[in-house]
Symmetry: C2
Subunit: 242 residues, 2 copies
Amino acid sequence: MLLQRRVPLAKSVARILRQRLRTVYADGGRLPSEPDIAAELGVSRGTVRQALTILEREGAVIRRQGSGTFVNPYFLRIQARVETAYEFTDLIRQSGYEAGIRLISVARETPPTDIAAALGDAAGGEALMVTKLFTADDQPAILCTDVVPVDLIRQPYTDAELAAPIFQFLDRRCFQTIAHVLADILPQVAGDDLGPLLDVPPDSPLLRFDEVGFNSLNKPVLFSRVYYRDQYIRFSVLRKKM
Amino acid sequence: MLLQRRVPLAKSVARILRQRLRTVYADGGRLPSEPDIAAELGVSRGTVRQALTILEREGAVIRRQGSGTFVNPYFLRIQARVETAYEFTDLIRQSGYEAGIRLISVARETPPTDIAAALGDAAGGEALMVTKLFTADDQPAILCTDVVPVDLIRQPYTDAELAAPIFQFLDRRCFQTIAHVLADILPQVAGDDLGPLLDVPPDSPLLRFDEVGFNSLNKPVLFSRVYYRDQYIRFSVLRKKM
Protein backbone atom coordinates (compact mmCIF):
# COMPACT_ATOMS: atom_id res chain seq x y z
CA MET A 1 0.00 0.00 0.00
CA LEU A 2 2.75 2.39 0.98
CA LEU A 3 4.72 1.49 -2.13
CA GLN A 4 1.72 2.05 -4.37
CA ARG A 5 1.13 5.47 -2.87
CA ARG A 6 4.75 6.51 -3.40
CA VAL A 7 4.63 6.38 -7.17
CA PRO A 8 2.09 9.21 -7.65
CA LEU A 9 3.84 11.14 -4.88
CA ALA A 10 7.18 10.83 -6.69
CA LYS A 11 5.39 12.05 -9.82
CA SER A 12 4.09 15.10 -7.97
CA VAL A 13 7.57 15.84 -6.63
CA ALA A 14 8.95 15.40 -10.17
CA ARG A 15 6.38 17.91 -11.43
CA ILE A 16 7.39 20.47 -8.79
CA LEU A 17 11.09 20.01 -9.53
CA ARG A 18 10.49 20.11 -13.31
CA GLN A 19 8.97 23.58 -13.00
CA ARG A 20 11.88 24.76 -10.88
CA LEU A 21 14.40 23.62 -13.51
CA ARG A 22 13.36 26.57 -15.66
CA THR A 23 13.14 29.01 -12.77
CA VAL A 24 14.89 28.79 -9.39
CA TYR A 25 17.37 26.06 -10.38
CA ALA A 26 18.11 27.37 -13.91
CA ASP A 27 20.51 30.01 -12.65
CA GLY A 28 23.13 27.96 -10.83
CA GLY A 29 22.22 24.87 -12.81
CA ARG A 30 22.51 22.68 -9.71
CA LEU A 31 19.75 21.16 -7.62
CA PRO A 32 19.87 21.08 -3.80
CA SER A 33 20.89 17.77 -2.20
CA GLU A 34 18.34 14.96 -1.86
CA PRO A 35 17.98 15.45 1.93
CA ASP A 36 17.47 19.21 1.47
CA ILE A 37 14.75 18.69 -1.16
CA ALA A 38 13.15 16.00 1.02
CA ALA A 39 13.11 18.28 4.07
CA GLU A 40 11.74 21.25 2.15
CA LEU A 41 8.91 19.32 0.50
CA GLY A 42 8.17 17.13 3.53
CA VAL A 43 8.68 13.84 1.71
CA SER A 44 11.10 10.94 2.18
CA ARG A 45 14.52 10.80 0.55
CA GLY A 46 13.34 7.69 -1.32
CA THR A 47 10.54 9.71 -2.93
CA VAL A 48 12.98 12.45 -3.94
CA ARG A 49 15.26 9.83 -5.43
CA GLN A 50 12.35 8.35 -7.43
CA ALA A 51 11.40 11.83 -8.65
CA LEU A 52 14.97 12.50 -9.77
CA THR A 53 15.02 9.17 -11.61
CA ILE A 54 11.89 10.24 -13.51
CA LEU A 55 13.56 13.54 -14.47
CA GLU A 56 16.79 11.78 -15.40
CA ARG A 57 14.94 9.43 -17.78
CA GLU A 58 13.31 12.43 -19.45
CA GLY A 59 16.75 13.91 -19.96
CA ALA A 60 15.83 16.89 -17.76
CA VAL A 61 18.59 16.45 -15.18
CA ILE A 62 22.01 14.83 -15.09
CA ARG A 63 23.14 13.00 -11.95
CA ARG A 64 26.86 12.75 -11.38
CA GLN A 65 28.10 10.30 -8.76
CA GLY A 66 29.53 12.26 -5.85
CA SER A 67 28.96 15.73 -7.23
CA GLY A 68 25.17 16.06 -7.31
CA THR A 69 22.26 16.64 -9.66
CA PHE A 70 22.41 19.24 -12.44
CA VAL A 71 19.90 20.89 -14.76
CA ASN A 72 20.42 19.67 -18.33
CA PRO A 73 20.88 23.01 -20.15
CA TYR A 74 19.69 21.44 -23.43
CA PHE A 75 16.43 20.42 -21.82
CA LEU A 76 15.66 24.06 -21.04
CA ARG A 77 15.56 24.84 -24.75
CA ILE A 78 12.77 22.34 -25.41
CA GLN A 79 9.45 24.10 -25.92
CA ALA A 80 7.18 21.18 -26.70
CA ARG A 81 7.66 17.44 -26.64
CA VAL A 82 6.16 15.61 -29.56
CA GLU A 83 5.16 12.66 -27.35
CA THR A 84 2.83 14.82 -25.29
CA ALA A 85 -0.71 15.67 -26.41
CA TYR A 86 -0.91 19.21 -25.01
CA GLU A 87 -3.96 21.40 -25.03
CA PHE A 88 -3.14 24.01 -27.67
CA THR A 89 -3.55 26.97 -25.35
CA ASP A 90 -1.10 25.40 -22.86
CA LEU A 91 1.32 24.74 -25.70
CA ILE A 92 1.21 28.37 -26.81
CA ARG A 93 1.59 29.68 -23.27
CA GLN A 94 4.56 27.46 -22.48
CA SER A 95 6.16 28.60 -25.75
CA GLY A 96 6.09 32.08 -24.27
CA TYR A 97 3.04 33.71 -25.86
CA GLU A 98 -0.42 34.88 -24.88
CA ALA A 99 -2.90 32.28 -26.17
CA GLY A 100 -6.21 32.97 -27.94
CA ILE A 101 -8.89 30.85 -29.68
CA ARG A 102 -11.11 31.70 -32.66
CA LEU A 103 -13.83 29.33 -33.80
CA ILE A 104 -13.56 29.38 -37.61
CA SER A 105 -16.27 26.97 -38.72
CA VAL A 106 -18.62 24.22 -37.58
CA ALA A 107 -20.20 21.85 -40.09
CA ARG A 108 -21.87 18.46 -40.37
CA GLU A 109 -20.80 16.75 -43.54
CA THR A 110 -19.33 13.57 -45.00
CA PRO A 111 -15.60 13.69 -44.26
CA PRO A 112 -13.04 13.28 -47.07
CA THR A 113 -12.19 9.64 -47.89
CA ASP A 114 -8.77 9.63 -46.18
CA ILE A 115 -10.24 10.94 -42.91
CA ALA A 116 -13.19 8.51 -43.10
CA ALA A 117 -10.68 5.67 -43.58
CA ALA A 118 -8.63 6.79 -40.57
CA LEU A 119 -11.80 6.74 -38.46
CA GLY A 120 -12.64 3.19 -39.60
CA ASP A 121 -16.17 1.87 -39.10
CA ALA A 122 -17.08 4.80 -36.89
CA ALA A 123 -17.36 7.16 -39.86
CA GLY A 124 -19.99 5.46 -41.98
CA GLY A 125 -21.89 8.69 -42.41
CA GLU A 126 -21.67 12.33 -41.47
CA ALA A 127 -19.17 13.86 -39.11
CA LEU A 128 -19.06 16.98 -37.04
CA MET A 129 -16.15 19.05 -38.32
CA VAL A 130 -14.89 21.88 -36.14
CA THR A 131 -12.12 24.22 -37.27
CA LYS A 132 -10.38 26.48 -34.75
CA LEU A 133 -7.52 28.91 -34.98
CA PHE A 134 -5.20 29.33 -32.01
CA THR A 135 -3.26 32.56 -31.75
CA ALA A 136 0.07 33.40 -30.12
CA ASP A 137 0.17 37.05 -29.10
CA ASP A 138 -2.78 37.56 -31.49
CA GLN A 139 -0.89 36.04 -34.46
CA PRO A 140 -2.22 32.82 -36.07
CA ALA A 141 -0.10 29.92 -34.75
CA ILE A 142 -2.11 26.68 -34.92
CA LEU A 143 -5.01 25.70 -37.18
CA CYS A 144 -6.94 22.61 -36.10
CA THR A 145 -9.83 20.71 -37.62
CA ASP A 146 -11.42 18.10 -35.36
CA VAL A 147 -13.65 15.45 -36.92
CA VAL A 148 -16.11 13.50 -34.73
CA PRO A 149 -18.45 10.90 -36.29
CA VAL A 150 -22.04 12.08 -35.77
CA ASP A 151 -22.98 8.52 -34.70
CA LEU A 152 -21.01 9.01 -31.52
CA ILE A 153 -22.86 12.12 -30.37
CA ARG A 154 -25.27 11.22 -27.56
CA GLN A 155 -26.31 14.61 -26.20
CA PRO A 156 -27.54 17.90 -27.63
CA TYR A 157 -24.93 20.67 -27.80
CA THR A 158 -24.56 24.27 -28.88
CA ASP A 159 -22.01 25.44 -31.46
CA ALA A 160 -20.62 27.89 -28.88
CA GLU A 161 -19.33 25.10 -26.66
CA LEU A 162 -17.22 23.77 -29.54
CA ALA A 163 -14.66 26.50 -28.91
CA ALA A 164 -13.58 24.49 -25.84
CA PRO A 165 -11.08 21.60 -26.20
CA ILE A 166 -12.62 18.74 -28.19
CA PHE A 167 -11.78 16.31 -25.37
CA GLN A 168 -14.44 18.08 -23.30
CA PHE A 169 -17.03 17.68 -26.06
CA LEU A 170 -16.17 13.99 -26.45
CA ASP A 171 -16.45 13.49 -22.72
CA ARG A 172 -19.70 15.39 -22.14
CA ARG A 173 -21.62 14.85 -25.36
CA CYS A 174 -20.29 11.49 -26.60
CA PHE A 175 -19.31 9.82 -23.28
CA GLN A 176 -15.96 9.04 -24.87
CA THR A 177 -12.52 9.40 -23.31
CA ILE A 178 -9.40 9.50 -25.44
CA ALA A 179 -6.86 6.99 -24.10
CA HIS A 180 -4.12 7.75 -26.61
CA VAL A 181 -3.49 9.59 -29.84
CA LEU A 182 -1.57 8.22 -32.81
CA ALA A 183 -0.11 11.06 -34.88
CA ASP A 184 1.53 11.06 -38.31
CA ILE A 185 4.00 13.94 -38.70
CA LEU A 186 4.09 15.53 -42.14
CA PRO A 187 5.58 18.59 -43.80
CA GLN A 188 3.25 20.76 -45.86
CA VAL A 189 3.43 23.90 -47.95
CA ALA A 190 0.75 26.42 -46.89
CA GLY A 191 -0.62 27.12 -50.37
CA ASP A 192 -3.57 29.37 -51.17
CA ASP A 193 -5.95 27.66 -48.73
CA LEU A 194 -3.92 27.74 -45.53
CA GLY A 195 -1.70 30.74 -46.24
CA PRO A 196 -4.37 33.40 -45.67
CA LEU A 197 -5.83 31.58 -42.64
CA LEU A 198 -2.44 31.34 -40.94
CA ASP A 199 -1.29 34.73 -42.26
CA VAL A 200 1.78 33.37 -44.08
CA PRO A 201 2.85 33.53 -47.75
CA PRO A 202 1.58 30.54 -49.83
CA ASP A 203 5.11 29.10 -50.12
CA SER A 204 5.62 28.81 -46.34
CA PRO A 205 6.39 25.45 -44.78
CA LEU A 206 4.04 24.15 -42.08
CA LEU A 207 4.22 21.18 -39.77
CA ARG A 208 1.10 19.01 -40.07
CA PHE A 209 -0.06 16.38 -37.59
CA ASP A 210 -2.73 13.90 -38.69
CA GLU A 211 -3.97 12.47 -35.43
CA VAL A 212 -6.36 9.67 -34.57
CA GLY A 213 -7.67 9.57 -31.01
CA PHE A 214 -8.59 6.16 -29.62
CA ASN A 215 -10.82 5.32 -26.67
CA SER A 216 -9.77 2.70 -24.10
CA LEU A 217 -11.23 -0.09 -26.30
CA ASN A 218 -8.87 1.11 -29.05
CA LYS A 219 -11.73 2.34 -31.20
CA PRO A 220 -10.96 5.50 -33.20
CA VAL A 221 -13.34 8.24 -32.06
CA LEU A 222 -11.60 11.44 -33.20
CA PHE A 223 -9.57 12.60 -36.16
CA SER A 224 -7.68 15.88 -35.97
CA ARG A 225 -5.64 17.61 -38.64
CA VAL A 226 -3.41 20.25 -37.12
CA TYR A 227 -1.10 22.77 -38.79
CA TYR A 228 1.63 24.50 -36.80
CA ARG A 229 3.67 27.56 -37.66
CA ASP A 230 7.14 26.56 -36.48
CA GLN A 231 7.89 30.21 -35.81
CA TYR A 232 5.69 29.87 -32.72
CA ILE A 233 5.66 26.16 -31.89
CA ARG A 234 8.82 24.09 -32.01
CA PHE A 235 8.55 20.36 -31.34
CA SER A 236 11.43 18.34 -29.98
CA VAL A 237 11.91 14.68 -29.26
CA LEU A 238 14.47 12.71 -27.31
CA ARG A 239 15.42 9.86 -29.63
CA LYS A 240 16.90 6.63 -28.41
CA LYS A 241 18.76 3.99 -30.33
CA MET A 242 16.92 0.71 -30.85
CA MET B 1 19.19 -12.18 -9.43
CA LEU B 2 16.45 -14.15 -11.14
CA LEU B 3 14.29 -11.05 -11.26
CA GLN B 4 17.07 -8.96 -12.76
CA ARG B 5 17.66 -11.53 -15.51
CA ARG B 6 14.00 -11.65 -16.42
CA VAL B 7 13.80 -8.08 -17.63
CA PRO B 8 16.14 -8.50 -20.63
CA LEU B 9 14.56 -11.89 -21.35
CA ALA B 10 11.12 -10.29 -21.44
CA LYS B 11 12.55 -7.68 -23.83
CA SER B 12 13.85 -10.43 -26.12
CA VAL B 13 10.46 -12.12 -26.07
CA ALA B 14 8.81 -8.77 -26.80
CA ARG B 15 11.11 -8.34 -29.80
CA ILE B 16 10.19 -11.76 -31.19
CA LEU B 17 6.47 -11.14 -30.70
CA ARG B 18 6.75 -7.62 -32.18
CA GLN B 19 8.09 -9.05 -35.43
CA ARG B 20 5.30 -11.62 -35.54
CA LEU B 21 2.64 -8.92 -35.19
CA ARG B 22 3.30 -7.89 -38.79
CA THR B 23 3.65 -11.46 -40.06
CA VAL B 24 2.21 -14.62 -38.52
CA TYR B 25 -0.17 -12.86 -36.12
CA ALA B 26 -1.29 -10.10 -38.51
CA ASP B 27 -3.73 -12.35 -40.33
CA GLY B 28 -6.05 -13.48 -37.58
CA GLY B 29 -5.16 -10.47 -35.45
CA ARG B 30 -5.07 -12.60 -32.29
CA LEU B 31 -2.04 -13.86 -30.37
CA PRO B 32 -1.83 -17.39 -28.95
CA SER B 33 -2.53 -17.76 -25.22
CA GLU B 34 0.19 -16.91 -22.68
CA PRO B 35 0.83 -20.61 -21.82
CA ASP B 36 1.10 -21.47 -25.53
CA ILE B 37 3.62 -18.69 -26.20
CA ALA B 38 5.55 -19.66 -23.06
CA ALA B 39 5.73 -23.31 -24.10
CA GLU B 40 6.75 -22.50 -27.67
CA LEU B 41 9.52 -20.10 -26.68
CA GLY B 42 10.62 -22.10 -23.63
CA VAL B 43 10.17 -19.26 -21.15
CA SER B 44 7.96 -18.80 -18.10
CA ARG B 45 4.42 -17.43 -18.27
CA GLY B 46 5.61 -14.51 -16.14
CA THR B 47 8.15 -13.57 -18.80
CA VAL B 48 5.49 -13.76 -21.52
CA ARG B 49 3.24 -11.56 -19.42
CA GLN B 50 6.03 -9.00 -18.99
CA ALA B 51 6.69 -9.05 -22.73
CA LEU B 52 3.00 -8.46 -23.48
CA THR B 53 2.98 -5.56 -21.01
CA ILE B 54 5.87 -3.97 -22.93
CA LEU B 55 3.95 -4.37 -26.21
CA GLU B 56 0.76 -3.07 -24.64
CA ARG B 57 2.52 0.10 -23.43
CA GLU B 58 3.84 0.70 -26.94
CA GLY B 59 0.29 0.43 -28.24
CA ALA B 60 1.21 -2.63 -30.31
CA VAL B 61 -1.27 -5.03 -28.75
CA ILE B 62 -4.58 -4.76 -26.92
CA ARG B 63 -5.33 -7.08 -24.01
CA ARG B 64 -8.98 -7.78 -23.27
CA GLN B 65 -9.83 -9.41 -19.97
CA GLY B 66 -11.12 -12.91 -20.63
CA SER B 67 -10.87 -12.81 -24.41
CA GLY B 68 -7.12 -12.63 -25.07
CA THR B 69 -4.47 -10.47 -26.68
CA PHE B 70 -5.00 -8.82 -30.05
CA VAL B 71 -2.81 -7.11 -32.62
CA ASN B 72 -3.54 -3.37 -32.72
CA PRO B 73 -4.37 -2.88 -36.41
CA TYR B 74 -3.38 0.80 -36.20
CA PHE B 75 0.07 -0.14 -34.96
CA LEU B 76 0.68 -2.12 -38.15
CA ARG B 77 0.38 1.06 -40.18
CA ILE B 78 3.28 2.73 -38.32
CA GLN B 79 6.41 2.78 -40.45
CA ALA B 80 8.77 4.70 -38.21
CA ARG B 81 8.51 5.94 -34.64
CA VAL B 82 9.84 9.41 -34.09
CA GLU B 83 11.23 8.46 -30.65
CA THR B 84 13.60 5.90 -32.16
CA ALA B 85 16.96 6.87 -33.68
CA TYR B 86 17.06 4.33 -36.50
CA GLU B 87 19.95 3.77 -38.84
CA PHE B 88 18.73 5.23 -42.11
CA THR B 89 19.17 2.04 -44.11
CA ASP B 90 17.05 0.13 -41.55
CA LEU B 91 14.44 2.86 -41.71
CA ILE B 92 14.22 2.62 -45.50
CA ARG B 93 14.06 -1.18 -45.43
CA GLN B 94 11.34 -1.29 -42.83
CA SER B 95 9.38 1.24 -44.88
CA GLY B 96 9.35 -1.39 -47.62
CA TYR B 97 12.15 -0.28 -49.96
CA GLU B 98 15.60 -1.40 -51.03
CA ALA B 99 18.12 0.90 -49.30
CA GLY B 100 21.19 2.51 -50.85
CA ILE B 101 23.83 5.04 -49.74
CA ARG B 102 25.71 7.65 -51.76
CA LEU B 103 28.46 9.74 -50.20
CA ILE B 104 27.83 13.25 -51.56
CA SER B 105 30.58 15.31 -49.94
CA VAL B 106 33.20 15.36 -47.18
CA ALA B 107 34.68 18.67 -46.00
CA ARG B 108 36.53 20.23 -43.09
CA GLU B 109 35.27 23.73 -42.50
CA THR B 110 33.91 26.13 -39.91
CA PRO B 111 30.26 25.16 -39.42
CA PRO B 112 27.47 27.75 -39.80
CA THR B 113 26.79 29.75 -36.62
CA ASP B 114 23.54 27.96 -35.71
CA ILE B 115 25.22 24.54 -35.91
CA ALA B 116 28.29 25.73 -33.97
CA ALA B 117 25.94 27.06 -31.26
CA ALA B 118 24.10 23.72 -31.06
CA LEU B 119 27.44 21.96 -30.56
CA GLY B 120 28.39 24.33 -27.73
CA ASP B 121 32.02 24.60 -26.67
CA ALA B 122 32.95 21.56 -28.71
CA ALA B 123 32.79 23.52 -31.96
CA GLY B 124 35.33 26.25 -31.37
CA GLY B 125 36.99 25.59 -34.68
CA GLU B 126 36.62 23.40 -37.72
CA ALA B 127 34.27 20.52 -38.10
CA LEU B 128 34.15 17.46 -40.28
CA MET B 129 31.01 17.75 -42.41
CA VAL B 130 29.78 14.64 -44.16
CA THR B 131 26.77 14.68 -46.49
CA LYS B 132 25.13 11.43 -47.55
CA LEU B 133 22.11 10.59 -49.64
CA PHE B 134 20.05 7.52 -48.79
CA THR B 135 17.94 6.02 -51.53
CA ALA B 136 14.74 3.99 -51.43
CA ASP B 137 14.49 1.73 -54.49
CA ASP B 138 17.17 3.97 -56.05
CA GLN B 139 15.13 7.15 -55.51
CA PRO B 140 16.50 9.88 -53.17
CA ALA B 141 14.68 9.54 -49.83
CA ILE B 142 16.88 10.99 -47.04
CA LEU B 143 19.62 13.63 -47.18
CA CYS B 144 21.82 13.83 -44.10
CA THR B 145 24.69 16.12 -43.12
CA ASP B 146 26.64 15.02 -40.05
CA VAL B 147 28.87 17.56 -38.31
CA VAL B 148 31.64 16.37 -35.96
CA PRO B 149 33.98 18.90 -34.29
CA VAL B 150 37.53 18.21 -35.52
CA ASP B 151 38.77 18.55 -31.91
CA LEU B 152 37.07 15.27 -31.09
CA ILE B 153 38.83 13.21 -33.76
CA ARG B 154 41.54 11.05 -32.15
CA GLN B 155 42.50 8.65 -34.93
CA PRO B 156 43.37 8.91 -38.64
CA TYR B 157 40.58 7.92 -41.03
CA THR B 158 39.88 7.63 -44.74
CA ASP B 159 37.04 9.45 -46.48
CA ALA B 160 35.74 6.10 -47.77
CA GLU B 161 34.85 4.92 -44.27
CA LEU B 162 32.58 7.96 -43.83
CA ALA B 163 29.91 6.23 -45.92
CA ALA B 164 29.24 4.01 -42.88
CA PRO B 165 26.90 5.22 -40.09
CA ILE B 166 28.43 8.20 -38.26
CA PHE B 167 28.00 6.36 -34.92
CA GLN B 168 30.74 3.97 -36.09
CA PHE B 169 33.07 6.85 -36.90
CA LEU B 170 32.42 8.47 -33.53
CA ASP B 171 33.08 5.19 -31.78
CA ARG B 172 36.24 4.18 -33.63
CA ARG B 173 37.89 7.49 -34.45
CA CYS B 174 36.68 9.75 -31.63
CA PHE B 175 36.10 7.20 -28.82
CA GLN B 176 32.67 8.75 -28.34
CA THR B 177 29.37 6.95 -27.82
CA ILE B 178 26.08 8.70 -28.37
CA ALA B 179 23.84 8.20 -25.33
CA HIS B 180 20.85 10.09 -26.66
CA VAL B 181 19.79 12.40 -29.44
CA LEU B 182 17.70 15.55 -29.05
CA ALA B 183 15.88 16.38 -32.27
CA ASP B 184 13.94 19.46 -33.33
CA ILE B 185 11.28 18.66 -35.92
CA LEU B 186 10.77 21.29 -38.60
CA PRO B 187 8.95 21.67 -41.90
CA GLN B 188 10.94 22.96 -44.85
CA VAL B 189 10.35 23.80 -48.50
CA ALA B 190 12.97 22.07 -50.71
CA GLY B 191 13.97 25.17 -52.70
CA ASP B 192 16.67 25.29 -55.36
CA ASP B 193 19.37 23.77 -53.12
CA LEU B 194 17.65 20.63 -51.90
CA GLY B 195 15.19 20.10 -54.75
CA PRO B 196 17.73 18.77 -57.29
CA LEU B 197 19.55 16.68 -54.64
CA LEU B 198 16.36 14.97 -53.53
CA ASP B 199 14.89 14.94 -57.04
CA VAL B 200 11.77 16.92 -56.12
CA PRO B 201 10.35 20.23 -57.46
CA PRO B 202 11.61 23.30 -55.51
CA ASP B 203 8.17 23.87 -53.96
CA SER B 204 8.03 20.42 -52.33
CA PRO B 205 7.62 20.10 -48.56
CA LEU B 206 10.28 18.18 -46.63
CA LEU B 207 10.50 17.09 -43.03
CA ARG B 208 13.70 18.32 -41.40
CA PHE B 209 15.25 17.02 -38.18
CA ASP B 210 17.96 19.07 -36.50
CA GLU B 211 19.58 16.62 -34.13
CA VAL B 212 22.21 16.97 -31.44
CA GLY B 213 23.86 13.78 -30.22
CA PHE B 214 25.10 13.75 -26.62
CA ASN B 215 27.63 11.42 -25.02
CA SER B 216 27.01 9.91 -21.59
CA LEU B 217 28.44 13.04 -19.90
CA ASN B 218 25.77 15.03 -21.75
CA LYS B 219 28.32 16.78 -23.91
CA PRO B 220 27.17 17.47 -27.49
CA VAL B 221 29.47 15.58 -29.87
CA LEU B 222 27.44 15.39 -33.08
CA PHE B 223 25.08 17.61 -35.03
CA SER B 224 23.00 16.14 -37.84
CA ARG B 225 20.62 17.89 -40.21
CA VAL B 226 18.39 15.39 -41.94
CA TYR B 227 15.77 15.93 -44.65
CA TYR B 228 13.13 13.28 -45.32
CA ARG B 229 10.83 12.87 -48.30
CA ASP B 230 7.55 11.91 -46.64
CA GLN B 231 6.64 9.94 -49.75
CA TYR B 232 9.13 7.31 -48.54
CA ILE B 233 9.47 7.86 -44.81
CA ARG B 234 6.44 8.49 -42.62
CA PHE B 235 7.02 9.22 -38.94
CA SER B 236 4.41 8.50 -36.32
CA VAL B 237 4.23 9.10 -32.62
CA LEU B 238 1.99 7.82 -29.85
CA ARG B 239 1.00 10.92 -27.93
CA LYS B 240 -0.17 10.86 -24.35
CA LYS B 241 -2.03 13.47 -22.39
CA MET B 242 0.00 15.21 -19.68
